[in-house]
């Protein structure tokens, strides 16, 4: 009898988690404003920063949405001049993963031209959201001073 309730409870929990995740997955979030934003250097990401912005993608081999994310970000980087796409294997850079508190792959960071993290998305982002986030990253730079 207990088992029946456990089954029903688990099914209900699964549906709630699934719906919440569907809504949240891949949404671009502002980096917390109460602490200074992390700045990543070319040395840390192991590739040159984009002239205007950089999309840093953390991936693992055990990650299906990483491939789709790679496709989206590559397209965006080709579409928007001065934007670079850098993919980092999370497993070989666990130092960065811990420093930036990355819990899932894919996680996408949007860096402005100075390497400052302006937006973060965990899960596969929508192309429109990436483009919108790039808009802010690029326009924020002049009034940074």
């Amino acid at each position: 009898m207990t088992g029946l309730w456990v089954a029903l409870g688990t099914l209900a929990l699964g549906l709630v988690i699934g719906v919440v995740r569907l809504r949240r997955d891949g949404r671009m979030r502002e980096t917390a404003t109460d602490k200074p934003a992390d700045v990543l250097t070319e040395g840390q990401i192991g590739a040159p920063l984009g002239e205007r912005a950089t999309l840093v993608q953390f991936s693992t081999a055990f990650c299906q949405p990483c491939r789709a994310t790679r496709r989206i970000l590559t397209e965006v980087a080709e579409l928007v001049p001065g934007v670079a796409h850098v993919e980092i294997d999370a497993e070989s850079r666990l130092d960065l993963v811990r420093q930036l508190d990355i819990l899932r792959t894919p996680t996408v960071l949007v860096l402005d031209r100075s390497g400052k993290i302006t937006k973060t998305a965990s899960g596969q982002p929508r192309k429109a959201d990436v483009l919108a986030a790039l808009g802010t990253a690029v326009s924020q730079e002049p009034d940074e001073m």
Partner: protein, 137 residues
């Protein structure tokens, strides 16, 4: 090695139904059968996906890397194993909680396409080398 995502979703749906039955009937033997399926799945030989392949002949539009779902089958096997230990030692809460955890993962995969086992991979990797990293620093 590539896998047909439709077959994997189909397999997750059957796994979900079997695990619900395990909870409702509290049958260790059914859970043992599911554990065998998980074990075969870790080798890419899940009977559920094989059933799908005999039923559906059309080629998938897209294939995916077979390693993540296999890793997820390992996670499922671990939970099923814990559930079996619970059943056979008479620790019913362990049996139910472990089975429920496997059910949750299977349901999320079947209904939403989320692979919980795959996502746990990075978390596990984050935790495991932590002890090693602290020594040299």
């Amino acid at each position: 090695m590539r896998a047909d995502p439709r077959a994997l979703r189909f397999g997750a749906a059957i796994t979900t139904m079997v695990l619900v039955l395990v909870l409702v009937t509290e049958s260790p033997w059914l859970l043992a059968a599911q554990a065998v399926v998980f074990a075969l799945g870790t080798a890419g030989r899940s009977p559920y996906t094989m059933l799908f392949k005999t039923l559906v002949k059309s080629a998938p539009k897209e294939t995916e890397d077979a390693r993540p779902p296999r890793f997820a089958q390992v996670v499922g096997l671990v939970f099923a194993g814990a559930g079996l230990i619970g059943f056979f030692t008479g620790i019913t809460p362990l049996a139910l909680v472990a089975t429920a955890a496997a059910l949750l993962a299977a349901l999320l995969n079947a209904a939403f396409g989320f692979c919980l086992g795959c996502e746990m991979y990075l978390l596990i990797r984050r935790l495991l080398p932590a002890a090693k990293m602290e020594v040299p620093q």
